[in-house]
């Protein structure tokens, strides 16, 4: 009898304490404040892939951080909440999105994904005190007097000279041809690329060839270019969806030189769309390859794949924006609702980079913009080989 009573008692005690612990945990969880980080960019329509990889990497990283108990900034612990807005690649909508972010009290926004959107949201961001991280290259966004935009990746005018130099020295490239979609972002990038190639003393044999972004068959576009027999064909600002089609068309037309791109690509897409024809394709393939990535990055890829069924290599770069925001806020808790504090911190900020074996998170861009308005991500130049990206070399932007 006694033993039974004791057993009952201890069970009740155990249950009570379990409840209490659970309650404490729950209340601890509930005590976490919310830190909202915004995203304004394109997640539907033909360019959906760009914004989607942003949103998904932010979501995965946020869930992960929250699961670990949130982020400690100053004296408070925060759960991160991602607020997304689909601008449908329309600059007018992008403004509305930025206004929405301001209304929600958000000060840090990732996006927009294209030039016109990034330019259009600037007035709102500056008047409402929002720092935003566009994936768009025009220098006017980042050079003074502009001060609220931070470039979220490596610009092509930074990576192109390095790639061309490498190819010139190591692969004997002398003749270059450019092809770009007839839209703002790719055309601007092409102009940047042509400039870089000429500066290196390379001969530019084709620089006026363009195609509409919705082209499905690139044979007519590439036929005249292939006949010029360039050593290097640069796909300026190419969308991940178009890259395999361009590569395949060029190779099937008998092109034998090198092909490169300065935008991030996805290995699965290349493999499915061009197969072995894509072997040897050179790109700034995201900021990560198996050689340099850390276990943390492996776990990120793992979690991403679990959550969405399939990883996207563009997220190698896109995981960084949120990380920089969070880490910078940790370094200066006053910046949580004050972007001027954030700007001050950017000057000196430095933290270990969790996603590579060795590296630091810091803001760069002095050479290109005259102020630190770019996040430093490893510039990994890769070569596509049998469904994977191999590292050619790793560079850095200053």
């Amino acid at each position: 009898m006694i033993s039974r009573r004791i057993a009952l008692k201890s069970m009740a005690l155990g249950a009570a304490s379990a409840l209490a612990i659970a309650g404490m945990l729950a209340s601890a969880q509930a005590e976490n404040k919310k830190l909202k980080i915004g995203f304004v960019g394109v997640t539907s329509g033909p360019a959906a892939a760009w914004g989607t990889s942003n949103v998904r990497s932010m979501q995965v990283r946020a869930d992960w951080l929250n699961e670990k108990g949130g982020v400690k900034i100053g004296d408070d612990t925060y759960d991160i909440e991602i607020v997304t807005f689909d601008d449908q690649k329309d600059p007018k909508r992008a403004i509305a999105g930025m206004e929405k972010m301001a209304e929600q009290g958000i000060h840090y926004v990732v996006g927009p994904n294209v030039d016109d959107g990034a330019a259009a949201v600037r007035p709102v961001a500056e008047s409402k005190g929002i720092i935003y991280f566009p994936y768009s290259f025009p220098k006017a966004l980042y050079t003074p007097p502009a001060s609220n935009a931070v470039l979220g990746m490596v610009a092509n005018y930074q990576s192109a000279p390095a790639i061309y130099k490498y190819l010139k020295e190591n692969k004997g490239v002398t003749k270059v041809a450019f092809v770009a979609a007839n839209e703002s972002d790719p055309l601007s990038q092409r102009d940047g690329g042509v400039e870089a190639a000429k500066a290196l003393g390379l001969e530019v044999v084709a620089q006026n060839d363009t195609y509409p972004n919705d082209t499905r068959d690139f044979t007519p576009v590439l036929t005249p270019i292939v006949q010029l027999k360039p050593d290097l064909l640069v796909l300026s600002g190419v969308a991940p969806a178009n890259a395999p089609l361009l590569i395949r068309a060029a190779r099937e037309l008998g092109y034998e030189g090198l092909i490169s791109a300065e935008t991030a690509q996805d290995a699965t897409v290349l493999q499915e769309g061009a197969g072995e024809l894509a072997n040897g394709f050179i790109s700034v393939g995201g900021a990560s390859t198996p050689e340099i990535r850390s276990p943390e990055m492996e776990e990120f890829i793992d979690r991403y794949t679990k959550k969405y069924g399939e990883y996207n290599d563009e997220s190698n770069t896109k995981v960084y924006a949120l990380e920089y925001i969070v880490e910078t806020l940790k370094a200066n808790p006053a910046a949580i609702d004050n972007v001027e504090e954030y700007k001050k911190t950017m000057e000196t900020f430095s933290a270990p980079n969790p996603f590579v074996k060795e590296g630091t998170l810091k803001y760069v861009g002095m050479t290109s913009f005259g102020q630190k308005r770019q996040i430093s991500v490893p510039m990994v130049v890769t070569e596509f080989k049998d469904g994977k990206f191999d590292t050619l070399f790793v560079g850095e932007v200053d």
């Binding site: 539907s44 007839n182 576009v221 969806a241």
Partner: protein, 288 residues
């Protein structure tokens, strides 16, 4: 130059097949189907799933794409377009419905198949190479199949009973009804057939250009162009329009490349001038 012409012919064959379905639906119901491109994309993704993912033979995937789209088309006609056409005061109102259907299909495709570009293994390997001409075998196969399908479609419209009924419907709806043609039934068959053609092209082309969820809208617009060149609502016009546009792109991109990105500007400007001179395209119905 041979290469340029071959490119144009190949492009033209696939364009013509895309335009056929659109023009058929327009001829029968005066509906400008904004969702045509989305149907193409859906057809592509069905083939991607069956041929690319499940590894079943390509003809099975092609058939599955056709059947899926035929059913989807029939349902859309019966439950969406028919009631709206019946009740709206101006038949242009169906444009809003067509656009809404296009958005809807876009959303469904994006949710089901994701945002990435997809591709499938080639159906035939190898490339035909001669001194003047380079053409991968799979393009030749797809081009031939496309032309065969166009021929089959024309024969079907010309000689089969439903084909004749549909042509009667396209010529004069009221007269056809008076002569005992079941208008509702053949409108549905026609819409299903139009959708099926879209699915068939999507399925064929996924083997060459792959597919992604965002290209529906641009494909529709391109198909509109071809239909306009040839003349809306006329089968021969769609075929001619497809080949003309294909050839113009191929030749234009070669000849005008020196002058920068103006090929499409020239094509579009020519189209506007051409239509100003011939307001019904090459062989279109007078009303349009």
């Amino acid at each position: 130059m041979e290469q340029v012409i071959a490119n144009g012919l190949y492009l033209g064959a696939q364009y013509a097949l895309i335009a056929l379905g659109l023009t058929l639906i327009f001829a029968l119901m005066n509906v400008l189907n904004f969702a045509h491109g989305q149907m193409y994309v859906l057809g592509g993704f069905v083939t991607y799933t069956i041929y690319g993912r499940l590894g079943l033979p390509f003809p099975v995937a092609l058939a599955a794409s056709c059947v899926t789209l035929g059913v989807v088309g029939a349902l859309i006609e019966k439950f969406l377009f028919r009631p709206v056409v019946r009740r709206s005061e101006r038949e242009e109102s169906t444009m809003l419905l067509a656009a809404a259907v296009a958005f809807f299909l876009d959303a469904v495709i994006l949710l089901l198949f994701g945002e990435k570009q997809r591709g499938v293994p080639k159906i035939v390997n190898g490339v035909f190479v001669s001194d003047q001409l380079i053409m991968p075998y799979d393009r030749i196969v797809v081009g031939v199949v496309a032309i065969a399908m166009i021929a089959a479609f024309v024969l079907y419209m010309q000689y089969s009973r439903p084909g004749r009924a549909m042509r009667a419907l396209a010529q004069d709806r009221t007269a056809a009804q008076l002569m005992g043609v079941n208008v509702d039934r053949y409108s549905m068959i026609g819409f299903a057939l139009g959708a099926l053609l879209a699915g068939a092209v999507g399925s064929l082309l996924v083997t060459i250009t792959g597919v992604n969820s965002g290209i529906g809208g641009p494909i529709s617009i391109k198909a509109f162009l071809m239909v306009m060149i040839g003349g809306a609502g006329v089968v021969g016009g769609a075929i001619a329009g497809g080949f003309i546009l294909g050839m113009m792109e191929s030749v234009g991109l070669t000849v005008l490349r020196e002058y920068g990105d103006i090929t499409y500007l020239v094509i579009f400007a020519l189209l506007m001038v051409f239509l100003s001179i011939r307001p019904n395209g090459l062989m279109g119905k007078p009303w349009g």
